[in-house]
Amino acid sequence: MRFELINVSKIHNRKQQTYNLRDANIRIEEQNGVAILPAHERSANALLHLISGIELPTKGKILRSGVFTGPIGDPSYFHRDLSGEENIRFICKIYGQNANEIIKEVNEFASLGKDLKKKAKSYAPPLRRKIAIATSLLMKSDIYLLKGPLNHPQPNFNAKIQARLAELAKQATFIVTAGDHNFLCKYANSSVFIDAQGYLTYFSDVQSGIDAQKAPTKDI
């Protein structure tokens, strides 16, 4: 696995010249989870999108090799006229996964039964989120993008998610963004602070990143 940002800028608003990221240089090492601590929430989102390849940078270069799936538990790719199974098959194919295996595993993991054969428009939001979380947790990726603690209203399933996350943390790399600092410390060993202008600072532990985020910023 290799992932590197070289002088990457991502513009937010062209007229006001505001940046989500500005001249960012970062190299993500294997087994070294990174917590993102942004001054603006949009900067964290932009960085996650750049890592998973959803958006391209305005300037700069991204070097990568490996599989990088989208943020965990994002169900927005679901098409309402396709069945859950077809939706999973689609996203597996996009990220180069073995679809048949994953459908079987999702069925087991989320204990869905016949629900996967129904069209996605008949799903209630918790069920849709359940399927999306199960799919992205079971897909093999080099970097998992974790947005918040992935709470689910069903206590049984929630326990399963946390168990799976703990299992993944042993072998995969996590990029975490969340408001809960304890959660950040659990999955990340280093941190990145993005200030309001988009400049990025790297810290080799999480706590100093949190301190940097709390420190009062100068108004310009």
Partner: protein, 261 residues
């Protein structure tokens, strides 16, 4: 070089996924979705034929008006039908474009493949049906010519479609403008009559700039053994197609950052 082939492999995989997705999503909404998609051109032909047979018009070329109409409508649908439908792809794939690494180019190629497949299937059904009911004697002038004409109309439709979909991103009102602009194309492309019999030379000199007219003429030229088209100019059509494709791809490159947000 190895990385290049790997990248092509990934592109092909993504386009394959989108191709199946668009086949399932485009017409899977209702139970008869695929049937209506295949039958729609047939409906157009039947309607126009009844209209003209009531008016008492004979076929300008050959014996049957139905076959004459079919040879015009098939390339028209492949080109303008594709270009019209491609206008919607960024809208209908918005959630995919903004939550997966799929690019607008992948979506457009997948849509091109799935739509062409359905249109060619419907064309085959129309022609086989016409042959079965005795309107067509299963004779064609040149199969290669027909295939090349089909390819040309698909390429032209794809080029115009790419341009349209990118223009619609820049100014949403372009969609309405295109609707008005493309309305007279059905008459101007010589689908319901042969143009050189109908119009005087002065009008014909203007109509010649319509590439679709050349394509319809080429299609009929290759289809009927007894008829030779006079208007078809291969170099003009080829240049038009190449410039439309290049312009469309350029416009897509310019607008793709806006689409994926």
């Amino acid at each position: 070089m190895n990385a290049f082939f790997k990248a092509v492999g990934v592109k092909a995989r993504v386009i394959h996924a989108l191709f199946i997705h668009s086949l399932l999503a485009e017409h899977g909404k209702t139970k008869i979705g695929y049937l209506t998609a295949v039958i729609k051109p047939l409906g157009q032909i039947i309607m126009l034929t009844t209209m003209f047979s009531i008016l008492g018009r004979g076929a300008p070329i050959g014996d049957s008006f139905v076959l004459f109409l079919a040879t015009g409508i098939i390339p028209y649908n492949l080109c303008i039908g594709l270009a019209n439908k491609m206008m919607q792809i960024n809208k209908s794939h918005r959630s995919i474009l903004s939550s997966t690494p799929v690019t607008p180019f992948d979506v457009s190629v997948a849509f091109l493949l799935s739509e062409t497949l359905i249109l060619l299937l419907s064309a085959a059904i129309i022609l086989l049906g016409l042959g079965n009911f005795g309107y067509w004697d299963h004779k064609i002038d040149s199969l290669l010519g027909i295939l090349l004409t089909v390819l040309a109309s698909v390429a032209l439709g794809y080029g115009i479609g790419l341009f349209n979909v990118s223009m619609a991103v820049i100014t949403p009102s372009y969609e309405k403008i295109w609707k008005i602009l493309s309305m007279p194309l059905f008459i101007m492309s010589g689908i319901i009559f042969t143009v050189d019999q109908r119009f005087p030379a002065e009008v014909l000199a203007i109509l010649k700039y319509n590439p679709l007219l050349h394509i319809t003429e080429a299609m009929r030229d290759n289809f009927y053994e007894s008829w030779e088209g006079t208007l078809f100019d291969i170099s003009y059509v080829l240049w038009f197609i190449i410039s439309a494709l290049l312009l469309g791809l350029l416009m897509q490159k310019i607008t793709q950052a806006r689409v994926r947000v």
